[in-house]
Chain length 351, copies 2
């Protein structure tokens, strides 16, 4: 296969972890006879510094004309705690999601047996957890009209959803459930919100097309509880943008393997793959960041191209590295800690 991959390293540790994913992907290409054409582009604070824009048109062109985007991390402390900042890295992220049509954010939460004890939850609560959130990513309150009235004294954000938006996300959810445990949970706040009632009625109407899938409906506050109590009771969960933002982050810490969690954001045409962790500015350039989540994001990328064996080869290498203790300091537990690039090298060599 010939693959054009846009490479958005971003800020902080982004460039370092992306480098390792490139190494590993190149090793995969060599072994399985693919050709990857990497196309680096600017984003985040790095892009603001260079051209005054977190998601420049040039970057968009590169992404839109590629087969996929591999993304590091964005965000920089100098943009935090300043609600009035005119240009923020996050705006680039939102613009990118919207312009590339990345409507489905796929966020798995699973456990690695060797890392179970890192979880803040007791072992019996977390063992066997293997769930996936599908978060709607281009609608809702993130993208509705927002602004001020009464000379700035009143602020508003509008949450809007169309039935078609719910359907295309829910369809992915049903299809994903069919390939897994055949359970789908629709997370909403239908006892209060009209948008949630639209979500619920739309999903209810789709149930008959997937008779094998067992569908449940839960309020977002109830799910926030059950994720901590019995995370292993879930399979696939679908939800709207803001609920998904909160719940996927909550879910990410329960496994104890947050530094290892990959994600995908899928559109009709193109997919973007990135680790769920942030840009950890304080670790920048120290060669200590854990590259495994980014490497596993590359695995999701190959799988999304239908290249299952390639994805599995990466996952196997990561599992072997974990078992052999070829890990960065966050997982070293008093043992030897390898550098970011050493872990990347080891993984590439063991593909």
């Amino acid at each position: 296969m010939k693959l054009n991959i846009a490479l958005l390293a971003g800020d902080g540790i982004g460039p370092e972890v992306i480098d390792q994913a490139v190494k590993v992907s190149d090793a995969i290409a060599k072994k399985f006879n693919h050709e990857i054409n990497w196309k680096p582009a600017l984003t985040g604070a790095a892009a603001i510094d260079a051209v005054g824009e977190p998601y420049p048109d040039e970057t968009h062109e590169i992404c839109a004309s590629s087969d996929a985007v591999l993304f590091g991390a964005i965000g920089h402390p100098r943009f935090d705690n300043d609600p009035s900042a005119k240009v923020r890295p996050e705006q680039g992220l939102l613009k990118m999601r919207k312009k590339l049509g990345l409507f489905a954010n796929v966020r798995p939460t699973f456990t690695f047996p060797s890392l179970l004890d890192k979880s803040p939850l007791k072992r019996e609560r977390i063992e066997g957890t293997d769930l996936v959130f599908l978060r709607e990513l281009t609608g809702g309150i993130y993208f509705g009209e927002k602004g001020r009235r009464e000379e700035g004294e009143t602020a508003f954000d509008n949450c809007v959803y169309t039935r078609a938006e719910v359907q295309r996300l829910a369809k992915k959810g049903f299809e994903l459930a069919m390939t897994r445990g055949k359970k789908l949970c629709c997370v909403d706040k239908a006892n209060v919100l009209e948008t949630s009632r639209l979500w619920r009625e739309t999903v209810q109407a789709m149930e008959k097309d997937y008779p094998e899938v067992e569908v449940s409906y839960e309020f977002v506050d109830a799910v926030a509880m059950r994720l901590v109590q019995w995370p292993n009771s879930y399979d696939v969960l679908i939800t709207e943008n803001l609920f998904g933002d909160i719940l996927t982050d909550e879910a990410s810490v329960i496994s104890g393997s947050m530094g290892l969690m990959p994600s995908a954001s899928l559109g009709a045409e193109i997919g973007l793959f990135e680790p769920i962790h942030g840009s950890y500015p304080q670790a920048t350039g120290l060669n200590i960041a854990n590259p495994m989540a980014t490497v596993l994001s590359a695995a999701m990328m190959f799988e999304n191209f239908g290249l299952q064996a390639e994805g599995k080869a990466i996952r196997d290498a990561v599992n072997e590295a974990l078992n052999k203790g070829i890990v960065t300091e966050d997982l070293a537990d008093g043992g030897k800690a390898y550098g970011t690039s050493e872990v990347g090298d080891w993984l590439a060599e063991n593909i």
Copy 2:
């Protein structure tokens, strides 16, 4: 003191647990020489059945003319999973909050040493947790304009906040922090929402009036994570209505003592006190529901009248019951389980 207390038992186990809180409060009145005039009124599914309305005007009149409201629980399964139901118990709850002006929901999460092992979190994560959420309760997306357009194909919910609404909630937060650990965390999504930017700038402007309070600002998704990782790092948290709904429920399960958590909803004139648990329809009438959260809600009520010794007497009795194992089956752990009313009797006798 002469106290007029509206008594809203509600649905499911509501009446049973309310009965125990009345017993205990009456014992307090006797011991400390107060006079309590209980004024029962209908609410929830019970009110819908009786008069077709979850929060009838008559009930409102009784509440508005009382010094406080003691509330059980509402909700009934026959109203769930029916997004099109015209009258829902929850509407009564929202109408009550709005009409009584209950703008500040106070939700403590604390641990009982004897119950630490009930937590889904590891002991070292949860030990020492003692935090309070102040959730804004009469604004935001709960009460903004909502509806459908394009023949029902598009749904919307508007989130609106005024600076004055933020100020009065934040003021309570700063004041509460001054009586406790002097730490205040403002939870928002200021990187995306205009309403959150209003929250953040308003709280920032108030900081100078409380120089002793250490204020932090965290995104809602980050708080959803840290609550599971290090709940004991928080003191007072303030947040808007929907974020508060999700996060207070998440926080409630980390302690392992959910069945014991009380809450208050305060307005300028009147306060409402209720357990955070639901109406557990399946336990109705079985005399097995744990009444302690409702009893502790009565303690919060006395304290809100400035009657600290009365509140403490209730808390001491609950602690003693826990230590002695005078508990319902949810806490019995293989030992003897007492009935709802037996626990209430014991507490009343030991005031």
